[in-house]
Symmetry: C2
Subunit: 306 residues, 2 copies
């Protein structure tokens, strides 16, 4: 048998995976003067309305049959699409501002389905202080709902994935695992208040949200920060009935993952003002330490066929 | 036979049409303090980086089999998706700044297809001064490419659809008709320079781009401005071989449609610095004049089954 070489032209998305392909595609991009952080974080970071002000910019899609089962109530489809984007704003420590809706769906769909989908978006937008500023409709065979979001950090810098240092504690909010099987992926609350508190108070050095599972997302943070990490599996905050593997790999948790300098950890735990669970799950290490205890890519990848 | 009542719950998108549905859906939205113009124009207009500075925000999708035939080269698919959004920035008189790419496509697609699609976007982005700041990939059965765009007007206000007055001349750039059959819809040049010149020099009072055909788009401008209009069909700038009907209804022209006060018209024609054709096609009238010479909805509608 001939070994198949990873030639770009013969490789399918399934073989390359989402991260690998995006790295290839965007490696040539050279961001301009208004771009503070481009590709590779939860949101793009742009120059904002003042010198200590950043604009956050994000686009994200949910696809019928991939991000939600076909029988999901339309209200929850709309809700989830916005909630995912808000989780990315939360993952920078930002405040969401404005959203645009691009919806592709079959012409045979009932107008009431679109209304329900919009109501799901509207309700969460109201609760989160987001202004809806426009909508587009296109015809398609499969429902694809895309939301573009603007947010900001005003008076403090956004928290990136790349700010962690060896020796810092690894923390997560909430509990992990079982999001898809329990339906939590349709109803989760984006951690906007928590993210903003962590950024405004300079508690965290790096921050991201867990969307593809800790096993996929933590290595992304570590790679961006050029650190290694060690996770104590017994400390993983698991949802009731979830195994360690499920907590690591199920994905769709939309909890926050962040790092805290050792001299701030005691104060963080003392002053954490939320009822949201806070767990120290491990430690950042020097990259040479080779102590990584999680395999690199066990979380959800849109294009890997497992 | 019972007459079917237009009950929301029983109405399909095909019956209601894109404009009608979006009007229904967004009529309850109340824009917040940072929103200058929300729903209903080519872009949303938000407070910008200074007092005489507006931020333009847009999202737009192209769908395989709807906006391009399945055998279209991927480079041109990417190009068209960005060009459509740029045309909307041009339609406000703005300068494009940053773009995000959300691509949904089958996992069996070749990685080289995605690379080609990205190259088409990248090339036009470079030519237009747009920074690409992020990309997302999802799995779907049908290719849906969505681009979110930020732009600005700095030192002058954006041109809205709602600024036309009775007595003003109606103008279009370029020529109309035959865009789909000729392939021009894949290769058109967004009228960014023209739009910006019109806005910076305060030449136009209202501006939009022609994407669904003059017969669909002109009534939108008239409705937004509360004017009526008269069009001299013999003055319609038609592409070679196109009938008046084709020039009115084919759509996908991506030319600019704008209005000019009578005392500025002579100077506009004299000082127009572009090689792009400039045509005076008619006149804005008082709404009571009942002199509208174009039927209301002959252009392309995503959900009308013609």
């Amino acid at each position: 048998m001939r070994r198949r070489k990873p030639v770009f032209d013969r490789t399918t998305l399934a073989a390359l995976g989402e991260d690998g392909l995006l790295r290839l595609l965007t490696s040539r991009w050279r961001p301009g003067p208004t771009v503070r952080t481009g590709v590779g974080d939860d949101c793009a970071v742009l120059a904002g309305r003042g010198t200590d002000h950043s604009l956050l910019f994000k686009v994200d899609s949910v696809v019928e049959g991939v991000h939600f089962p076909p029988d999901t109530p339309f209200r929850l489809v709309g809700r989830k699409a916005l909630a995912r984007g808000l989780s990315d704003i939360a993952a920078m420590g930002g405040r969401p501002l404005d959203a645009l809706i691009a919806l592709a769906l079959p012409a045979t769909a009932a107008a009431s389905a679109v209304r329900d989908l919009y109501r799901g978006i509207e309700r969460l937008a109201r609760q989160s202080g987001v202004d809806l500023v426009g909508g587009e409709l296109s015809r398609s065979r499969q429902l694809v709902l895309t939301i573009a979001l603007l947010g900001e950090t005003a008076g403090y810098p956004p928290l990136l994935r790349s700010g962690a240092h060896p020796g810092e504690g690894l923390y997560v909010t909430g509990s992990l695992g079982g999001s898809l099987s329990s339906g939590r992926h349709l109803r989760f609350r984006p951690r906007l208040s928590e993210g903003r508190w962590l950024a405004e108070g300079r508690w965290a050095t790096s921050l991201m949200d867990i969307s593809d599972g800790l096993a996929a997302d933590l290595p992304r943070l570590a790679r961006a920060s050029r650190v290694d990490f060690s996770v104590d599996e017994s400390r993983l905050p698991r949802h009731r009935g979830c195994s360690v593997k499920e907590a690591l790999c199920d994905g769709e948790d939309y909890e926050l993952l962040f790092t805290v300098p050792p001299d701030r950890e005691a104060a963080l735990r003392r002053e954490w003002p939320f009822s949201t669970r806070l767990s120290r799950i491990g430690l950042c290490l020097r990259p040479s330490a080779a102590a990584r205890t999680l395999p690199d890519s066990h979380g959800f990848d849109h294009f890997r066929l497992s």
